[in-house]
């Protein structure tokens, strides 16, 4: 008789599974996100941003009257799993695919989406993703081929640096950035004295800081994730490195400033997507995100949010709900934040799926991020 209870419990558990809602006139989005494994922070933030966007849009009546239903599947930060899930997702014929965030996973998913004719709006930043001629792949942030030239130019022209030391994290995010910046430095005659790789999740940066100090470059380029950036800044301060420290969004975000404290002052960064920019729409987004999730979003949180609004803007331009027409509607689309507040910043999507958007040069002054320069769109 005891064993019967076990069967009842199992049956009950199986029956208690939450069922996915499926109505006739809905827009089904499937998000392939890194919810576990090394990319958990990336995927979770992307998911939260996307969910927030979906909630907002549905509250206002959906897209052209159709509600959005979004499901998130965990790729476990594994390209094989991402590929399998992509197959499964495409079997379900979604309106569009979101994610993944990891460039390796994007590389296996993109051809499948292209074969099926489904638009894929993802968070990967590797330069070569949009150079493969895939007409169905779209970015939500700058590719490294767009951001690195801007930084290199700033370092060579504004800071007048002749030599540089690079510290990067040795995964596809950091290595891709490193390869790009090394090429750009080469083009501009900036000599790389030190090209130092670090590990994701590394806690002790004293060795790296001392190597930088010994190299004595004109400028230090730092391309790490947020927590590691904070630790590196602290170590550089301890090692008495006084040269300019330049990086990207991950170097001068609010979280990094909080974690690094004093050591963050003076750091300079090129920021594409940040809730610290002096743009009211971004600040408002940060407040809404914080209200819902109780923490401040990083750039992945913004990417997820934008992906959904990009779909909304393109669908409204088409005037009908047509998954096959979505990729073409996205190509060449210019979305203005005045007309579509959800897009946060004016953006134009080009024929390769790359984005043209204004960006900022920021500097940490007295514990606050201050925008010192606005870099306009390439084609305003």
């Amino acid at each position: 008789m005891g064993r019967g209870w076990i069967w009842l419990c199992l049956l009950g558990g199986w029956a208690a599974q939450p069922q996915a809602a499926r109505a006739a006139d809905t827009i089904n989005l499937i998000d392939l996100a890194e919810l576990s494994g090394s990319g958990a922070t990336v995927g979770t933030n992307f998911k939260n941003g996307a969910d927030l966007a979906v909630d907002e849009i549905n509250a206002k009546g959906g897209i052209l009257g159709a509600k959005i239903v979004i499901t998130h599947w965990d790729t476990q930060s594994n390209a094989g799993v991402a590929k399998a899930l992509a197959e499964k997702a495409l079997d379900a014929q979604p309106y569009a695919l979101l994610g993944p965030g990891y460039s390796g996973s994007v590389k296996v998913v993109a051809p499948l989406a292209a074969d099926a004719g489904v638009a894929e709006i993802m968070g990967g930043e590797a330069a070569d993703l949009t150079r493969a001629g895939n007409k169905f792949l779209f970015r939500t942030s700058f590719g490294q081929q767009s951001s690195m030239p801007k930084i290199a130019r700033y370092i060579a022209d504004n800071l007048k640096a002749k030599t540089a030391a690079i510290v990067y994290v040795n995964n596809d995010f950091g290595k891709g950035g490193n390869d790009s910046i090394v090429k750009e430095f080469d083009k501009r005659g900036v000599k790389v004295l030190l090209d130092d790789s670090t590990e994701a999740g590394q806690a002790d940066f004293s060795a790296d800081a001392l190597k930088v100090k010994a190299a004595n470059p004109d400028v230090v380029f730092i391309y790490l994730n947020e927590e590691e950036s904070a630790r590196m800044l602290k170590e550089l301060r301890k090692a008495d490195v006084t040269k300019p420290l330049v990086g990207e969004t991950t170097l001068i975000g609010q979280k990094v400033i909080e974690l690094a404290g004093d050591a963050a002052n003076g750091a300079i960064g090129h920021v594409g997507l940040t809730t610290d920019a002096p743009v009211p729409a971004l600040k408002a987004y940060r407040d809404r995100f914080f209200a819902k999730y109780n923490y401040v979003p990083d750039h992945n949180g913004i990417k997820g949010y934008l992906a959904v609004y990009m779909i909304k803007a393109a669908t409204e331009k088409m005037g009908k709900i047509d998954p096959k027409g979505l990729p073409d509607a996205l190509h060449g689309l210019s979305i203005s934040a005045a007309k579509e507040p959800g897009i946060l910043l004016d953006v134009t999507i080009d024929g390769n799926g790359d984005l043209d958007r204004e960006s900022f040069i920021g500097k940490v002054v007295d514990g606050k991020q201050v925008i010192t320069e606005v870099l306009p769109k390439l084609n305003p």
Binding site: S36, A40, A203, D204, A207, K211, E226, K255, L259
Partner: protein
């Protein structure tokens, strides 16, 4: 030269952290042949208990007490009773795998129920630096070093000088005979687990200001503790300290002077060399074989 000293000191600071985590690991192996693959997560978890308490308004020291208390209850008592006791007599490996599952369980639980983001964690030590021999050492690192060494010294004294300590050692070396002699072997093993729970709670409070409280903290710390324990000598508490400090220093010097891209391999290289030439670790004694 100044660089070398700076690296050495920084390495010792990190090594002290590894030592603290490795000590409990060694203790559990010595007393009950438990290989705890979740040790890293054990260090990660108490910080979140403390953060949760602080979020509800508790001051630091109260939160610390709550963290230690919950750690004793969950990572000490519950862990032993629910997971270790039923499995121990079936050999080392199934329990080791179960602790692997446990580590995943704890990590994912924190990620889902608390946050996937890193949270700053307060430290009783000031966050500034001290200048020693022209080199900057952070007060926090010093605090870790002092705390780790004191904890281990106290532990070592406790194990060798007090009656209970010696009983624990006896129970570890030969549980059957100890039982015949009337020692409460089960209870002594429980003490070892509780001790580990206290140690990891302490380590958690020391580590989290530096590493920041994040659900994934356990991964690197766990592996480092494992290597430190083996290198130092798996059957000696002293070994954990030696192993930990050595590991921290070697990691740092290796990253600076040998290779940055292969820095993760250097501690393992040391591990392999040590066990090939000194199978019991640097400080370890030869284990008695039960035939």
């Amino acid at each position: 030269m100044a660089n070398f000293v700076a690296l050495l000191i920084a390495g010792l600071a990190t090594g002290a952290l590894y030592a603290l985590v490795a000590v409990g690991f060694t203790l559990m192996w010595q007393t009950s042949q438990t290989i705890n693959f979740a040790q890293g997560e054990f260090v990660m978890l108490p910080a979140f208990f403390m953060l949760a308490a602080m979020n509800h308004g508790a001051p630091y020291w109260v939160a610390l007490a709550i963290g230690v208390g919950l750690s004793l209850a969950i990572l000490g008592l519950a862990f032993k009773r629910l997971l270790v006791d039923p499995m121990l007599r079936h050999g080392v490996l199934p329990l080791a795998i179960a602790t692997m599952a446990l580590s995943s369980f704890l990590k994912e639980s924190v990620k889902t129920f608390y946050s996937a983001e890193a949270s700053p964690f307060p430290s009783p030590a000031p966050s500034s630096d001290l200048r020693v021999l022209g080199v900057a050492v952070s007060w926090q690192s010093l605090a870790v070093l002092v705390a780790a060494l004191s904890a281990v010294t106290l532990l070592q004294l406790g194990l060798s000088r007090t009656r209970i300590g010696r009983q624990m050692q006896a129970a570890a070396q030969n549980p059957t005979v100890a039982q015949i002699l009337g020692l409460p072997v089960e209870r002594l093993i429980l003490y070892a687990f509780l001790l580990n729970a206290a140690l990891v709670a302490l380590a958690s409070a020391l580590v989290s200001p530096i590493y920041l409280a994040k659900f994934s903290n356990g991964e690197t710390l766990g592996q480092a503790a494992f290597i430190a324990a083996i290198v130092g000598g798996f059957n000696q508490v002293r070994g954990a300290v030696v192993g930990g400090l050595l590991l921290g220093v070697v990691e740092n010097l290796g990253a600076a002077y040998i290779s940055d891209a292969y820095r993760d391999a250097i501690p393992l290289f040391v591990l392999v060399v040590v066990i090939l030439f000194r199978p019991n670790g640097l400080v370890g004694r030869a284990e008695e074989r039960t035939v």
